[in-house]
């Protein structure tokens, strides 16, 4: 058993679109290499249509047409249950769901069956993997809800009767009740108000620490990553462009795109002019040649237009895909006065 619970190599997943003879491929995930360690929170950041949601779908074994796995492998190393999603059959995948691998989907309102009481949903989801029924099952659920600061009464409620924050805690409860080793969390707090968001994030972080589960936490919001992730990976146009320890990503980004994302977070107590990034993310049906960020990159040179930079290690745990990474400097001082701890 290695230290890594998930290893993704050269993963490509495309959407095969076909509208009245207009056929094209959207390269949503285009050659991602990364791994996640046991017990860590790995944050994935990226803007809308960067491919991060498609990436999570592949990791969750939720590939549906028109999305299609083109190449690469997704290896999970669960205790006694190693599996490669690229080659596993449906039965193998069913066997790991929820017991080992669970998922918190985007949008708490729409992920719960509107006509089913929360209690029944818990039964549907967890009764089989936990192998518990009746009284024993109920006790287990109630105890788990208590940890999430939810009263047992929510089991009698329908989703629409709960507030947004409570619903989100219910989905976290659903995803964690079987003590999975790996949790995929896709924008779990995006629709929540700031105070509730912070509470839910804390809860998620606490319960993750307690269970020792590994988490992939996806959000566009860099300030969330700053507070929950151990490491952060940045996805741009279907590629992983940089990954590194959270602290370093903020204090010493090595990719111009990351530098820009970090700079676009204003801070209370600071009114210094913040730069904006012009242009738009590329159309993934016809991505630009070379480095996909070059049309918007202030550092772009001729080479960037021709050759795609590889992901290279720039310091322990820190990799970036930029020909000119050594020239990337933080665009704003992000208030990190202390030395970076390695």
């Amino acid at each position: 058993m290695t230290d890594d619970i998930l290893k993704v190599s050269d993963l490509k997943a495309y959407y095969q679109m076909n509208y009245y003879g207009n056929n094209f491929e959207v390269r949503a995930v285009d050659g991602i290499d990364m791994s996640v360690r046991r017990g860590e929170v790995y944050g994935i950041a990226g803007e809308s249509s960067s491919g991060k949601s498609s990436f999570v779908k592949v990791l969750a074994a939720a590939i549906r047409p028109p999305l299609r796995l083109v190449s690469g492998s997704v290896r999970y190393d669960f205790a006694g249950h190693p599996i490669d999603l690229a080659t596993a059959d449906a039965r193998d995948i069913e066997a790991i769901r929820w017991k080992h691998l669970s998922y918190i989907m985007q949008g708490s309102m729409s992920v719960l069956n509107p006509v089913r009481r929360i209690g029944r949903t818990f039964e549907d989801f967890a009764s089989r993997p936990l192998n518990l029924r009746g009284r024993a099952f109920r006790d287990r659920i109630v105890a788990h809800l208590e940890r999430l600061k939810l009263p047992a009464e929510v089991l009698q409620a329908y989703p629409h009767e709960l507030s947004g924050g409570m619903r989100q805690r219910v989905t976290i409860g659903l995803a964690t009740v079987c003590h999975p080793e790996f949790i995929l969390a896709d924008e779990p707090t995006t629709a929540l108000d700031v105070v509730v968001q912070k509470e839910v994030l804390k809860l998620l972080r606490d319960i993750q620490k307690e269970m020792g589960a590994a988490v992939i936490f996806v959000t566009h919001d860099m300030s969330v990553h700053a507070n929950v992730a151990d490491r952060v990976g940045i996805i741009y146009a279907g590629n992983l462009v940089e990954e590194g320890p959270t602290r370093e990503m903020f204090s010493a980004p090595k990719h111009p795109y990351t530098a820009h994302l970090v700079a676009s977070l204003p801070r209370i107590g600071d009114t210094a002019q913040r730069p904006a990034l012009d242009g738009r993310p590329p159309n993934l049906a016809k991505p630009p040649p070379g480095c996909r960020f070059h049309p918007r990159c202030p550092l772009a040179v001729e080479r960037c237009r021709r050759e795609a930079p590889p992901l290279e290690t720039v310091s322990p745990d820190h990799r970036t895909a930029c020909w000119r990474w050594s020239e990337v400097a933080p665009l704003v001082d992000h208030g990190m006065r202390q030395e970076v701890v390695r």
């Binding site: 929820w98 992920v111 069956n113 006509v115 549907d124």
Partner: protein
């Protein structure tokens, strides 16, 4: 709970409004008719035997009182409501002097039974198969069922009934094509009668089921193929929830909510279909009665059948509507 009562009150108000407007429309439309019920009745009676002019004048007097046709239209209208509430709409002409209401009540059970049974079969069959077809979109069997539904759905009631009549009446005469029961059995609670009734109901019911099946099937298939892409279904699948639970409690259960509304909305159409089918198979229900009444110019009977149809359909819609909040927990707190 108060919301459910509120919902009930709203539906009940609609029920009352529909009955009021529908029945009033029936009254005023028939009153536009140039047919004078008194004269028609007189003509019919005097054609059977010869009467002295004085006897005819007396009869005219009695009939006018009976139908109340000498009063102004508005007071006739008031009387009409008063009499409708006690179930008396005057004598029918077809079977003079049997009250029109009695004929309606005799015909009603046949129509109600035919309507209820065929609607239930159609609804259950159409939604079940349509739901499964929506969930298993690439299954060849369901695809061919879909083709069948597409070809059946647009054909009008009359044509389907007619085709069945030709098939089973001339091509392969194995089923009775006319009437409600065989002449050889005694009406009552006995086995030969019941069997005969069921036997005679097969073709009318089949024609209703065939026409109705397509639209439920296609509607449910479309609904389900939308619902399977809903997040809560995907999420349950990703959690490894049992397939039968997903199909039953996640997909079908949610698709059924709009279908119940649909059921309420189509009852009027289904009733029209029943009426037509009855005429084709000479089935002793309201439809046959209505058509006979029109041909005979039976004023009171036409009015009775159309008024009762409006009341019955509105009542049935009301009952179906009441199911809706039981299926959808959200409506209770809206």
């Amino acid at each position: 709970m108060t919301d459910y009562i509120w919902f009930l009150a709203k539906r009940a108000a609609l029920l009352v409004a529909v009955i009021f407007f529908g029945v009033s429309a029936a009254f005023f439309i028939t009153h536009l008719s140039p047919i004078d019920p008194v004269e028609t009745a007189l003509g019919r009676i005097s054609s059977q035997a010869s009467f002295s002019p004085q006897a005819i004048a007396e009869m005219r007097q009695t009939l006018t009182e009976l139908y109340g046709t000498d009063a102004p239209v508005l007071s006739q209208y008031g009387n009409f409501w008063r009499r409708l509430l006690v179930g008396d709409l005057g004598p029918s002409l077809i079977a003079f002097p049997t009250p029109a209401m009695t004929l309606v009540m005799q015909a009603m059970p046949w129509t109600v039974a035919l309507l209820v049974i065929s609607t239930l079969i159609t609804f259950v069959l159409g939604n079940l198969l349509g739901g499964l077809a929506g969930y298993n979109q690439n299954n060849a069997l369901f695809k061919s069922l879909g083709m069948l539904a597409i070809s059946l759905q647009p054909i009008p009631y009359y044509v389907v009934a007619f085709i069945l009549l030709i098939l089973f009446g001339f091509v392969w005469p194995v089923l009775p094509i006319s009437g409600g029961y065989a002449m050889t059995v005694t009406p009552g609670l006995n086995l030969p009668f019941v069997l005969s009734v069921l036997n005679h109901a097969i073709l009318p019911a089949l024609s209703l089921v065939l026409v109705g099946f397509g639209s439920w099937f296609l509607g449910m298939r479309a609904l389900v193929s939308n619902i399977v892409t809903e997040d809560y279904v995907t999420y349950a699948e990703l959690a490894g929830v049992r397939k039968s639970t997903i199909v039953g409690s996640y997909v079908m259960r949610n698709a059924l909510i709009p279908q119940i509304t649909g059921l309420a909305m189509t009852l009027g159409t289904v009733f029209s279909g029943t009426v037509i089918t009855e005429e084709v198979f000479n089935y002793p229900g309201l439809g046959s009665l209505l058509i006979d009444a029109v041909f005979e110019g039976d004023y009171a009977l036409v009015l009775a059948v159309s008024s009762i149809s409006v009341v019955a359909v509105a009542g049935a819609i009301f009952v179906v509507d009441l199911l809706y909040p039981l299926l959808d927990p959200r409506i209770r707190s809206e």
